[in-house]
């Protein structure tokens, strides 16, 4: 139901593809086209590229141990990946924003090694294939391309390794988010944080109270402005300076 006067939320993720053409901002198109696979070719190989969803907040997209048969690009919303340790505690692995791909870490396995859950209303583009082995044998070039995407993904997690202060980790987290949003055409300075402070804390290996304490400090220092789930980076240069030791660029 559209309400007169309500501005549609701008989403730079396009929805302009069809049977024969990838959407203009498709996350898979480069990998596929570089190997000579157009949409029609994929269909012939029983690889489906289809828009699925909505997944509602709390709904799982896949669970650890599920048979691996698809990767997916986020088109709207945020997905959280996590594992549950032997003690039953959740460990957040990462957050996936529009334009980013989930399931990549399963690409050399037969099963998903983690859980993926929607943090808000999530729309996906699912890239599915009948059998993992098919991808390896019929489209090795494509598999290699997807491996490349995976290694970029691992790079994102680097900020967790290393002995950094809470302020540095938080700054790095925010700067990384900002860059990822900007890369997809979203605002680099106005971030909508769909993840809870517990999730952020878990991901950064901090206590939830510390997350808030750090953000309040950053706010007092004029680097950010936080209101409910909206975070505005008011001093991008200042925040980058703080994050530099972690991000190294």
């Amino acid at each position: 139901m559209s309400i007169a006067g309500k501005r549609p939320r701008p989403n730079p993720i396009a929805d302009d593809g069809d049977e024969l053409h990838f959407c203009s901002t498709c996350a898979f198109s480069d990998a596929c086209l570089s190997q000579g696979y157009g949409k029609a070719d994929l269909r012939d190989l029983h690889v489906l590229v289809e828009h699925v969803g909505p997944f509602h907040e709390g709904e799982h997209i896949f669970r650890e141990g599920d048979e691996f048969n698809a990767i997916a690009a986020v088109r709207a919303g945020t997905v959280k990946t996590y594992v549950v340790d032997a003690g039953g505690h959740e460990q957040v692995l990462g957050f996936h924003l529009p334009g980013e791909i989930i399931g990549l870490n399963a690409i050399s396995e037969a099963r998903y090694p983690c859980n993926a859950v929607a943090l808000d209303t999530v729309m996906l583009c699912r890239f599915s294939f009948p059998k993992m082995a098919l991808l390896a044998s019929r489209m090795p070039g494509l598999q290699a391309q997807l491996f490349k995407l995976l290694s970029q993904d691992i790079g994102k997690a680097a900020l967790l390794a290393g002995d950094y202060s809470a302020d540095e980790r938080m700054a790095a987290f925010l700067v990384a988010l900002s860059r990822r949003f900007a890369q997809r055409g979203f605002s680099a300075t106005r971030l909508h944080l769909t993840m809870t402070r517990t999730d952020i804390a878990n991901y950064l290996r901090l206590a939830p109270e510390t997350v808030s304490r750090v953000l309040r400090r950053l706010q007092e220092d004029g680097l950010v402005k936080v209101e409910r789930r909206e975070l505005e980076i008011t001093d991008p240069a200042g925040l980058e300076a703080l994050a530099r030791v972690v991000l190294r660029n």
């Binding site: 309400i3 007169a4 006067g5 309500k6 501005r7 402070r197 997350v211 808030s212 953000l215 975070l231």
Partner: protein
């Protein structure tokens, strides 16, 4: 906003119609019985999840009064049995213990308010127990600008009470006076001497209370310009930091105690407006700033300072300096506002008691705000506190095109503009200086529920 608005009797008379005071939007009548304890618990959980969760404001309702004031429309229980206070306190403490765990421990309490009824129906040591229980289950801020306030009936203060309350942590008080005129006091059954009132004000100042408020009412039976004028002079001489001048609404069908008031003894509408005008003239001459609705404050009081700085807020406790807090209400009829949800406790004591005894949160009804509610609440909040709305800023915050979204509401403004209440200028919708006495009338234009309700009766009558 600070200067006291010009008094336009004709305008005020024309708009002297009942309506919501917008201590919340949506207003309490919109709360639904479908909203229960699990919904409140969920709202609390969600509110903990913000990157910087909001700080907390606690409200406790003490419904007991020793003596019935005939004008009163509040939720109260008349009794002289102090044991009832003790029994009530025991359950209050259990309710606090249920609520504490729902809120993350690092969320500081920056505001506490005790209202009623008569909070000082409880003894100072009992109030101390309540505060101790709150402090056990919540983390109190130790900041100098924390606001711990209590409503007091000066007639029932015991020696040493104020000192004890200050020791407990209270730093602000609100006193009921209404009118010192003996004839009026007799007619409303509230006999209260100037001496006992001043003694309480003096004690508050002596023991470091940063702000004292006095409540007055105009429109009471047998009130005259002379009598009310003397009351105003006496009160102003004591220089309270804040004053609230309420209009008496005679609705004996709704409020049974008011049946004891002789309608024939009430001032006429013109006389009543004259009393308001008198109050406004005297307060203006005495240097008071106008906050909004019926509230005045000295320019150096926190409320006036907050308003000047854009930090004024309005909640169920009226105007307040602490914007951006989640409000937790305990006790009979108390209302909470957590995240985008409202929750209210039962208004009758037995239902509240039964829930506590069953180990359940006593949530009776409430509401989870939709996007449209949040938008309108923001708009109305700005109108009631700043007297104006910045249209472009509202558009940005909520992702709307104001002129399209509020086309119908904007259509309600021209008659108010013609009457000189409101103007649209510079991308703002602003109350004029005389319109600032009628903020709720302007706010009502944007109240979706008010106009839905008004639309429905017509449909029914047409069907017949």
């Amino acid at each position: 906003m600070a200067a006291i608005p010009p008094f336009d009797a004709e305008l005020l008379r024309r708009y002297d119609r009942p309506g919501p005071r917008y201590t919340s939007y949506p207003t309490a009548p919109q709360f639904s019985g479908n909203f229960g304890p699990e919904d409140f618990a969920r709202a609390a959980r969600l509110s903990n999840d913000d990157p910087i969760p909001r700080r907390l404001s606690l409200y406790a309702h003490i419904p007991f009064c020793f003596s019935p004031c005939f004008y009163c429309g509040c939720n109260r229980i008349i009794t002289r049995d102090l044991g009832r206070g003790e029994t009530y306190l025991n359950r209050l403490v259990r309710e606090v213990a249920m609520l504490g765990p729902l809120f993350d421990r690092d969320r500081e309490v920056v505001q506490v308010h005790l209202g009623g009824g008569t909070p000082n129906f409880l003894g100072a040591n009992q109030i101390g127990e309540l505060m101790e229980s709150l402090q056990t289950h919540f983390r109190f801020s130790d900041s100098a600008d924390r606001d711990f306030s209590i409503e007091l009936d000066p007639r029932f203060m015991r020696p040493g009470d104020i000192e004890a309350l200050a020791f407990i942590g209270f730093n602000r008080a609100s006193l009921g006076v209404q009118d010192f005129d003996p004839a009026v006091q007799k007619a409303v059954n509230r006999i209260q001497s100037v001496e006992e009132t001043m003694a309480v004000i003096d004690a508050c100042r002596k023991h470091g209370f940063r702000s004292v408020n006095v409540d007055l009412i105009y429109g009471l039976p047998l009130q005259t310009r002379e009598g009310f004028g003397r009351t105003l002079d006496t009160v102003i001489q004591a220089r309270p930091d804040r004053l609230a001048i309420y209009s008496y609404a005679h609705l004996p069908q709704l409020f049974r105690p008011q049946k004891q008031i002789e309608a024939s003894q009430l001032p006429s509408p013109e006389e009543k407006l004259g009393l308001l005008q008198l109050a406004i003239e005297k307060l203006s001459a005495a240097g008071y700033a106008y906050i909004g609705m019926d509230h005045f404050a000295l320019p150096e009081d926190d409320l006036a300072v907050a308003q000047a700085g854009g930090g004024l807020h309005r909640n169920f406790m009226g105007y307040t300096t602490h914007a951006e807090c989640d409000l937790i209400g305990v006790g009979v009829s108390a209302i909470s506002h957590v995240g985008d949800s409202f929750a209210q406790n039962p208004r009758d004591l037995p239902s509240w008691e039964a829930a506590i005894d069953a180990g359940r949160l006593p949530t009776w009804r409430g509401l989870r705000l939709e996007e449209d509610d949040v938008l309108r609440a923001d708009l109305i909040q700005q109108l009631m506190c700043q007297g104006e709305v910045d249209v472009r800023e509202l558009e940005d915050r909520h992702g709307i095109d104001f002129a399209t979204y509020f086309a119908t509401e904007l259509g309600r403004l021209p008659p108010l503009e013609a009457d000189g209440l409101v103007e649209q200028v510079d991308g703002r919708i602003r109350a004029t200086s005389r319109g600032r006495l009628l903020l709720r009338i302007i706010a009502a234009c944007f109240d979706r529920y008010l106009h839905q309700a008004q639309a429905e009766p017509t449909r029914f009558s047409k069907a017949i």
